[in-house]
Subunit: 135 residues, 2 copies
């Protein structure tokens, strides 16, 4: 699975959702890479195709790809296409871990503000994980 396989389905993209479109798209692609559904060397959908699929402008895809390139997940070659980079999965993993830490940090701050004890916080997390397992 090395050559062009530009078909991939990922979740809904909406300007109503949290954060800008290009970030949602970049996250979605990063998630595909982290999940090993895209391997190094694989060709990404062309900016035009993905733009058409997601009912979004070419520029927005371009910007998402720029973010991913800056993060070392992909590289782009004019006239050829965009491809998954070599250590992409590792980078994606690192990025994902950083996101976890960021979210947990925010949760801790909010928990302090809400006057939750650490035990209560663990209990809440445990409950939310249980809920998620059912769904």
């Amino acid at each position: 699975m090395n050559s062009d396989s530009p078909d991939l389905q990922f979740g809904p993209i909406s300007s109503a959702a949290e954060g800008p479109l290009y970030e949602q798209i970049a996250s979605a692609v990063a998630r595909e890479i982290a999940a090993r559904r895209l391997s190094p060397g694989d060709m990404l959908p062309s900016v035009r195709k993905l733009a058409a699929d997601l009912l979004v402008s070419v520029i927005t895809i371009k910007r998402a790809y720029e973010e991913l390139e800056r993060a070392g997940l992909i590289y782009s070659r004019q006239g050829i296409g965009a491809f998954v980079a070599e250590n992409a999965a590792a980078h994606a993993g690192a990025d994902a871990l950083a996101e976890v830490k960021l979210a947990l940090g925010a949760a801790i701050v909010a928990a302090r503000r809400a006057r939750l004890t650490e035990a209560q916080m663990f209990q809440l997390l445990r409950a939310m994980l249980k809920e998620g397992d059912q769904a």
Copy 2:
């Protein structure tokens, strides 16, 4: 402590920080209320005074107060002032708890993406709480 006590100090407000100014300010006031440092009936700083203190426009304070009013934390009377509402602390507590859940939800999603086990996630949270205790 019922009448006007418009003096309160809260953390730094900066356009560099995450989120818009009016939201930072609203959060700061909500935190003061949740911490019972502002009681029901207490007068909030006037929009002009707070604007001057925070080196920010009157409109920005106005908008922050609107958010707080929408959340049921305060109420405003033209020509008189803005005051802490009756069940404000309860509302603030509920809001704070909702924030915790939101952040934890994001953390869970990110953790799944990063292929963390639940045990690893708990361990990470424990470590971050330990770090925070030192600081």
